[in-house]
């Protein structure tokens, strides 16, 4: 059973679908990859990438983007993991409704999310007004950036984790219980590893969504260098300010940073798969 799941995929144009599928896949890959490649190549060729890397505004934005998305991801895991497990394992009335509500930020336009956060946590907001009376102000702070990112990206992780937990064979967990595992041991040694790749995929999607977050950030957190101006905001500000080269360079840096993380995750993932193979 384990070795079947680990059979390597067919190489190149052999395998089901043959050559036409291969060519179709290459074409689709080019369609998706070309616009992004154009950004990076253009900024490399006209030298704006080199200038942008040393530009304080861009560096501040890059640090802010990477820092806030890391914190949002942690927040997502802390809040999302228990919630996903709960949704996967417990039956209760209104579960479908709750799942739909949690999935909603995925579908909502980011500007709607931003407006919603503003009306809830803004200074005159539903929760924001009492918070403001206590001296806690959220809009225009880096905390607001993290909140905006977490709000729009957590549903991606929760969804993937929920599906991952729900797809685990209960018999394996029961077998572990029979062998004397406590619930905590069970979760750590059986459930989590089995849901591992679903969780990892959810984390990557969630992080990617956070990194690209723009609409909710600019509406709720505002746009100030060093405090709330993330890299996507720089791309837009430079473009509308008439600095096209600066915009392209900032976009290229965003692309390269995102690509770097995605590649690193892939490498780690394949590393994991190789470990499993050595066991069978």
């Amino acid at each position: 059973m384990a070795s079947d799941q680990l059979r390597p995929p067919a190489r190149g144009s052999s395998g089901p679908g043959g050559r036409p599928l291969y060519l179709l896949a290459v074409a689709a890959g080019l369609c998706l990859g070309l616009p992004v490649a154009v950004i990076v190549v253009r900024s490399l060729l006209d030298g704006s990438l080199a200038t942008a890397i040393t530009d304080r505004v861009v560096l501040d934005a890059l640090t802010l983007s990477l820092g806030t998305t890391a914190i949002s991801l942690l927040l997502t895991i802390v809040v999302g993991l228990p919630l996903a497990y709960f949704l996967a394992r417990r039956e209760f009335r209104g579960r479908a409704l709750l799942e739909a509500v949690i999935d909603l930020p995925i579908v909502l336009p980011p500007s709607v999310a931003g407006l919603a956060l503003l009306l809830t946590l803004g200074r005159e907001g539903f929760l924001g007004k009492p918070l403001d009376a206590l001296g806690i102000e959220l809009p225009f702070t880096t905390v607001a950036v993290v909140l905006a990112q977490a709000f729009v990206s957590a549903p991606f992780f929760i969804r993937a984790a929920r599906l991952g937990f729900a797809s685990i064979d209960r018999h394996l967990e029961d077998a572990a219980r029979v062998d004397g595992a406590t619930e905590a041991q069970l979760f750590r040694s059986v459930t989590l590893p089995l849901a591992g790749s679903a969780l990892a995929a959810g984390l990557v999607m969630s992080w990617a969504r956070s990194l690209g977050e723009f609409g909710a950030t600019i509406m709720f957190a505002g746009n100030m260098e060093g405090r709330t101006q993330t890299l996507p905001l720089v791309v837009y500000s430079e473009f509308t300010g008439g600095n096209l080269d600066g915009s392209i360079a900032a976009a290229a840096i965003l692309v390269l940073a995102a690509f770097g993380v995605l590649v690193a995750v892939r490498v780690l993932h394949w590393g994991q798969v190789l470990d499993l193979r050595s066991l069978s």
Binding site: G122, R123, E124, F140, M224, S237, G241, G242
Partner: protein, 207 residues
């Protein structure tokens, strides 16, 4: 003649036109952006000045920071909403702040204190007004005409001699497929009929 309108900050619109947006007429809140189009050869005919405007300070109706005069913009803890560096209102606002700094009764370091109080740089002046209407910011420098059309803000008057007159100019874009009609519209807009309509919204004649 059917007119379709696309609105945003003048600098954003200028960038869009440079990138090929299908515009017939470009109306700008300054003379700089039409001049940019002229430098790039994207115009038909010279820019025409069609309106003037003045600046004012707006605060939310509830005035949470108890702003009594423009001098309070520099008070510690006041949240000022501004626009991005290339939005026309920012250029005018910067000049206004510099003028106010020279007035009697304004603290030393007024300009630096004002800059330190800016908490966000919005894309256009309409977004600035929205943030004040929502009560998110304590104060903002906007056009008199913006304050006039909003019901959720209060104005704080700016000393007349320190105020900065804004000049609005428009130009026909060379991408226009009906340059004659575009020119006719612009002439009408800058003419007595257009001026009367603009005046009803609080605009001034061009300086």
């Amino acid at each position: 003649m059917t007119i379709t309108i696309s609105t945003d900050s003048s600098s954003t619109l200028e960038t869009q036109i440079e990138q090929g947006a299908p515009a017939d007429v470009f109306l700008s809140a300054d003379t700089t952006n039409p001049a940019k189009l002229v430098t790039k050869g994207l115009n038909v005919g010279d820019p025409v000045k069609f309106a003037g405007n003045l600046l004012t300070v707006i605060v939310p109706t509830a005035n949470p920071a108890a702003i009594a005069s423009p001098a309070d913009l520099a008070r510690t803890g006041v949240k000022v909403i501004a626009a991005g560096a290339t939005v026309p209102i920012t250029k005018y606002a910067t000049m206004l702040v510099a003028n106010l700094a020279k007035e009697a009764g304004y603290p030393a370091g007024f300009v630096a204190a004002y800059d330190a109080n800016v908490v966000s740089q919005e894309d256009n002046v309409a977004a600035v007004v929205s943030k004040i209407e929502l009560g998110e910011g304590d104060a903002a420098i906007v056009y008199v005409t913006d304050a006039k059309t909003s019901t959720k803000v209060t104005t704080i008057t700016v000393p007349t001699h320190a105020n900065v007159p804004a000049t609005y100019a428009g130009v026909v874009v060379n991408a226009s497929r009906n340059a004659a009609a575009a020119q006719a519209f612009l002439s009408w807009f800058a003419g007595p009929d257009g001026q009367a309509i603009l005046a009803s919204f609080g605009f001034l004649p061009p300086s």
